[in-house]
């Protein structure tokens, strides 16, 4: 331990304390501003007219607030030859993400339940292989996946993209649920078996009601992954089934003549909104679910 007689005693006057506090908050404020700067630029730019962007300062506030860029981004911007804005693609993304998130979460929950509570021969190898699936880079599966989708007759369709995302997400969702269910005492399953409940009854009545925190984790994780996915979206879609990330890329890259920064910014914000919303609504459960330990009976 520290030798107290040797260490100089540091008594701080109230003023010193106040000053230090002040410096601390200044620093925190500077960092917060630094991280918020891109968002600030995006929002202000999206609210400016093209003229103002050309003549004005990047970080200045709009002199005249206009929502024209947002309107254009939503329903008028051109992605290649079509000029319908991001709206149809936004809808595609919803049609892909919602079913894919639900299906991968449900199957992941069942997988995790089996691996954690119904140990079968080779359960550990099965789980290890699933985990391995989490670490396979996207690029590696592109070609085989294209062939599989073709054989199934769903290439270029929304169900095809749902299928891809469910397959790719299973490793993660299984991992989440398995780790959560492993902390639930196996005596609970035994008691339910003696009570006469079967495989699905035990899952439905006992495990699922305990699972809210981990369901939230799984949903946030999967939604973010699927919504933000670009590679699968660009590889396995065709005109009419592209997700919003692909549309955003097309809008930004296919401008003719003047670059409409305000429209690009508005489109980018629109594309990012859903994930932002999911975090705001369910964020605290996310942290809670990731750190949730054992369940006390």
């Amino acid at each position: 331990m520290t030798d107290m007689s040797y260490a100089p005693t540091r008594t701080q006057s109230p003023t010193t304390k106040l000053v230090l506090r002040f410096i601390l908050y200044i620093l925190l404020g500077v960092f917060a501003l630094f991280y918020l700067m891109p968002l600030f630029v995006m929002i202000t730019t999206s609210l400016k007219s093209l003229d103002e962007i050309r003549t004005g300062d990047l970080v200045s506030l709009p002199r005249e607030v206009t929502f024209d860029a947002w309107r254009t981004a939503w329903s008028g911007a051109c992605t290649g030859i079509q000029c319908e804005g991001v709206r149809p693609y936004f809808l595609n993304s919803l049609l892909i993400a919602i079913p894919a998130v639900l299906i991968s979460t449900i199957i992941g929950a069942l997988n995790g339940y089996v691996v954690a509570q119904w140990k079968f021969k080779g359960a550990n190898i099965f789980f290890a292989l699933l985990l391995f699936g989490c670490f396979i880079p996207f690029q590696v599966v592109l070609l085989p996946m294209a062939i599989v989708l073709g054989k199934l007759g769903i290439s270029g369709t929304i169900p095809g993209l749902i299928f891809v995302h469910v397959i790719y997400g299973l490793g993660f969702t299984t991992l989440f649920f398995r780790n959560y269910y492993v902390s639930i005492p196996s005596e609970l399953t035994k008691a339910a078996k003696v009570d006469g409940a079967g495989f699905f009854r035990i899952f439905w009545s006992i495990f699922l009601p305990l699972s809210l925190p981990i369901i939230v984790v799984s949903v946030i994780w999967q939604f973010t992954q699927i919504w933000n996915d670009f590679l699968f979206g660009v590889s396995f879609s065709q005109a009419g089934t592209q997700p919003v990330t692909v549309a955003l890329n097309n809008i930004v890259n296919s401008t003719t003549g003047v670059k409409e920064y305000n429209v690009d910014m508005a489109a980018a914000i629109i594309a990012a909104l859903p994930t932002l919303l999911v975090y705001v609504v369910a964020g605290k459960y996310f942290i809670r679910g990731l750190t949730a330990g054992s369940v006390k009976g």
Binding site: L188, A191, V194, D195, S205
Partner: protein
């Protein structure tokens, strides 16, 4: 009538490891069977096999005369209470108790009636709408019992149900379980590592070690006539004194000589047991070594012994000494004059003495 539970030549292996070897045990209706042994002896595995939660590797299992070897747990007409209580955390107490009936599709009126009956019996009515997380250990224990009682099964199974409770509550619940058994006349199988629980609750005890049954008997049989050194040492607290001794026939019976360090050997004469080998291990319960001055029976033999340690325990005082190279405990009166480092005249009662073969550990008399 056929026995309520009959286990015949049961084996259980995990891969190449034999966990249970040739288990044979049966109980009649109303019996309270306790499986006792140190941890890892296979007692919980045996209970899980009886419940059907672990498949058995060989042998047969009958409950109520029916072969249940390959029947799933829900059809065995059993109820089980677990060590961790295993209450369903998201359900209220009432739902916990009625879950089994709900799964079996029993109508609501019957469920309500049974719930009321059981909750009155266990005095848990005020808790019915709480969740397990809001209950104390003792209350959870009661709810777990309620969940078993409501089934009204042929056989109750208990897996160390008291080991998570504090000492005082454990004694209370032990008495309560015993009262419940007497009131219901139910058949029970109970696993514990606590030999006092085994002695107080059981009508029949199975002592196990390393997956093998060491002895089956009533608590009195197990206590008074342990079948081998393991049982002798395991059952009873403080444990039975097991002292190496030499025997020799003399006119009146067997002369038993116990060596002592720095003193003449103690020589006792046993007139009941006459056919003993030369080297034996003599087993004497602490309560059979008492103050000579306070001995109640005349059938004792006395010797002066140097006391090493005196441990007052309230009702009794335990004195520890060295005999035959072993620590030997005597159970003396609370008001004994014995003091550490001094000699005390002690009386040995050979009425309930046990002799064991030193090599095999088996009982000789």
């Amino acid at each position: 009538m056929s026995p309520i539970l009959e286990v015949k030549n049961l084996y259980k292996n995990y891969g190449a490891t034999e966990v249970l070897k040739d288990i044979n045990v049966s109980i009649e209706k109303g019996d309270f069977l306790v499986l006792v042994g140190p941890s890892g002896c296979g007692k919980s595995t045996l209970l899980n096999c009886i419940a059907g939660l672990e498949p058995i590797s060989g042998g047969d299992l009958f409950i109520g005369g029916q072969n249940m070897t390959n029947v799933s747990p829900k059809d065995r007409d059993i109820a089980m209470v677990f060590q961790s209580y295993a209450l369903y955390p998201t359900m209220t107490v009432a739902k916990n108790i009625t879950f089994g009936m709900k799964v079996r599709g029993i109508d609501q009126a019957t469920q309500d009636a049974k719930l009321k009956h059981v909750s009155t019996q266990l005095q848990i009515e005020p808790l019915l709408h709480r969740k397990p997380g809001q209950l104390s250990g003792g209350q959870r224990q009661r709810v777990a019992m309620g969940r078993a009682l409501v089934r009204d099964p042929k056989l109750f199974l208990f897996d160390e149900p008291l080991s998570n409770l504090d000492a005082k509550l454990r004694v209370e619940m032990r008495t309560e379980i015993k009262a419940l058994h007497q009131r219901l006349g139910a058949s029970m199988v109970y696993v514990t590592h606590d030999q006092i629980e085994a002695m107080t609750l059981a009508t029949k005890i199975v002592v196990m070690k390393g997956g093998v049954i060491q002895q089956i008997g009533t608590p009195a049989e197990i206590y008074n006539r342990p079948a081998n050194l393991f049982v002798a040492d395991f059952m009873g607290s403080p444990a039975m004194n097991l002292i190496p001794a030499k025997t020799k026939a003399n006119g009146k019976g067997m002369q038993i000589e116990i060596a002592r360090k720095d003193a003449d050997p103690i020589v006792l004469t046993d007139t009941r047991n006459t056919d003993l080998p030369e080297n034996v291990i003599i087993g004497v319960r602490p309560e059979d070594i008492v103050d000579a001055a306070l001995a109640r029976t005349d059938d004792t033999q006395q010797a002066d012994c140097l006391i090493d340690i005196v441990e007052p325990a309230g009702a009794d005082t335990f004195a520890v000494m060295q005999l035959g190279g072993k620590h030997v405990t005597a159970r003396l009166h609370a008001e004994t004059t014995a003091a550490a480092g001094t000699a005390q005249r002690l009386a040995f009662d050979l009425g309930k003495v046990s002799y064991f073969e030193p090599e095999t550990g088996l009982r000789l008399n």
